[in-house]
Symmetry: C2
Subunit: 460 residues, 2 copies
Amino acid sequence: MNLSADFLAQLRGLFPADALLTETSDCYAYGYDNSRGQVTPDAVVFAQTHEQILALVRLCRETRVPLTARGRGTNTTGATVPISGGVVLSFERMNRILRIDVDNRYAVVEAGVLNGDLQTALASLGFFWPPDPTSAPFCSIGGNLACNSAGPRAVKYGSPRENTLGLRAITGAGEEFRCGVYTSKGATGYDLTRLLIGSEGTLAIITEATLKLTPLAAAKRTMRATYDSIESAAAAVARIMAHPVTPCALEFLDGEALRLARSHAGDAIPQAAAMLLIEVDGQPLALPEAVEAVSRAARGEGLIELIIAETAAQVAVLWSARKALSPALRKIAPKKINEDVVVPVSRLPELIAGLRTISTKYQIPIVNFGHAGNGNMHVNLLYQPENPQQAANAPDCLSAVFALVLELDGTLSGEHGIGLAKRDFLPLALDPVTLQLMRRIKAQFDPDGILNPGKLLPSE
Amino acid sequence: MNLSADFLAQLRGLFPADALLTETSDCYAYGYDNSRGQVTPDAVVFAQTHEQILALVRLCRETRVPLTARGRGTNTTGATVPISGGVVLSFERMNRILRIDVDNRYAVVEAGVLNGDLQTALASLGFFWPPDPTSAPFCSIGGNLACNSAGPRAVKYGSPRENTLGLRAITGAGEEFRCGVYTSKGATGYDLTRLLIGSEGTLAIITEATLKLTPLAAAKRTMRATYDSIESAAAAVARIMAHPVTPCALEFLDGEALRLARSHAGDAIPQAAAMLLIEVDGQPLALPEAVEAVSRAARGEGLIELIIAETAAQVAVLWSARKALSPALRKIAPKKINEDVVVPVSRLPELIAGLRTISTKYQIPIVNFGHAGNGNMHVNLLYQPENPQQAANAPDCLSAVFALVLELDGTLSGEHGIGLAKRDFLPLALDPVTLQLMRRIKAQFDPDGILNPGKLLPSE
């Protein structure tokens, strides 16, 4: 679309020259995210206050100009690609931590605060905010909330929906409101806070959030367990999670992922058909007992070796290798399809076996790693677009993955969200009535459909 | 209202004679709840299947007959009093535990299952569902979900919103749907699960729920700490909650509550200006460290005595006295106003001091006890309707309590919900926009307003 001269003039009235981009070349970089989709927006603004955003939404609504909120564009589903053009609202300059209230275990932050910056500020006070995507150092809290993004710690500490007390936001109709509480309990009306979390900027724009803080555990131990088959490792995950001691991380890497991890971190990463990276935290005196309980569950058929990391350096190597996986896979297969499906943990062995069958059938290598304690697997379809057979098979291969996941009582996304990439698969996962209710809710918050159009909900 | 002969004939087609009440004398007991409000419904039905309820909702919608879902009527806000008459749908015969999946840490239950029955079934498997209202032995899971009811354990383990994975439900338009997941993580569309939880049967009727289970801790210790002033006790609560070890219960009783508790449990209950009942749970080896950490925080100005219960019998006495409080207060003041306000824990001393001032000003005794770890205080206004001055002052006294709570960044309800009792106070706690969004959402789920009319949302 082309923005009218009048619209641009009004935009200039709201944002100073150094907070507004309108040249295509300047706007280009705000047109993509980690999905590798790209559509250049017509303008990019850098807001610094809630009031600026309120005026912006009202202007966009009056003129029916699409508006896409953007944290740092680290999401993988195209949720921040402005496919209808219009304005991208970047939160990168709206990044103040407004309050940290340790006594009441909450922090109030602007939506553009980086997850990593918040964690640093909290750690010095003995607290953390549980959601910890791999991109934590450079992804924003607002983006985490929009996508309900989590990470390894969710297995014990939950996702943004379990760790957010309240929000300040602006609907697509340009109405500002607050929802939620400053307390750890509340039963005062409908839960709009959780409704906005995971809505990917399609209902309202979150400008400020009150986050629930958790005390940092006093001690942590990290283990790695290797297995002679991925099925054995998956079975071990199910055993560990059936046990009362909940690990604070339970990550899975298959053999191919391990090979890649070795290329990043060297011999510190073992060779095996699969590896689990297990962490337990708690009070120092309790840890040996917890480690022993988890170790017992990790042992069993197919275990090659169970090692407890002895030094901080060993722990750092394990994690850096794990965290390097996604970018490393991107290098090998720039067009890889990276899914984040979830199944109940006891179904992981079936998922893994099913994925192997699918990989063979469609002749597309599949590499799996992820947050096994939640049954949340990053399934990477490494197809090469220049291989005509693989390129032709990729869509069916992906459909087969989703069908398998749903058959196993799972769901399409654990932490990436739906965005553009999975939008058209949503009807497979949700009842028609459920989907209609979501559409009707969307219409109440954003009657003209200006907020992040074309995302999350499939077209009717 | 009077139900038409045609409506009654259709109702008889849906429910056998032993599952349908239409005589006023039979229906009477289904017209009240623990709020002591009472309006006799025109009919009461006892559903046993989702399909029966679907047909019932469709019938009620066609004929515009109000329909009020009822668990066991233990709520305190009038949320299940059928103020517009019509049909009460009782869940007392829809009480099957459909599945307990320990490996995946969830249970699927019909909405009428009693909280206590579920806990018993789970305990033998080493698990529990965290919400534990005082009425647990005789309140239903559906009611817990409708009101987001919690209890002492919420301080560590959360409320229904943090402990529910998915729901099966029927909108007021007679549309059936499922929402949520069977997994511990999910980012697949808007969060309708949490939207229904706490909506008090005004959006949809929950027929089935998938609940997230938590492993039972291996060990628990119970302490009681007495203080020479309620302010000292409130300050101790704030100190305990600022500490990394989160107790699994942190209950507060003021002096008057203690006197009542003694009348129930005898000398085992100490005399003091205030008492804290503190529990910590975890692995056996870790407990002494946790007890020591919490004890350190509990000590301080005004502490009279800190005692660790040594026997199960001592623990049982402490809890039975605590749990007897609400009924005991009801005996003293049958028309007492029992609120469940919440403030951030560090504001508890201000809340307690403010309540004392309010009590003096309006000449109405106020007794306070509750879930102090969440800042969730049961504030009991013990007015006697036969005392004309107290009766005249009661509404202003209650308004003053709410004004104080909101001034302290608190909220109207922590776990009882809004119902009828607090409906007209909702605009004090919520933005007009927030309230309008709730109304618009209500209209999408229940376009003709047949579900539990007159509850939660104030009339426009």
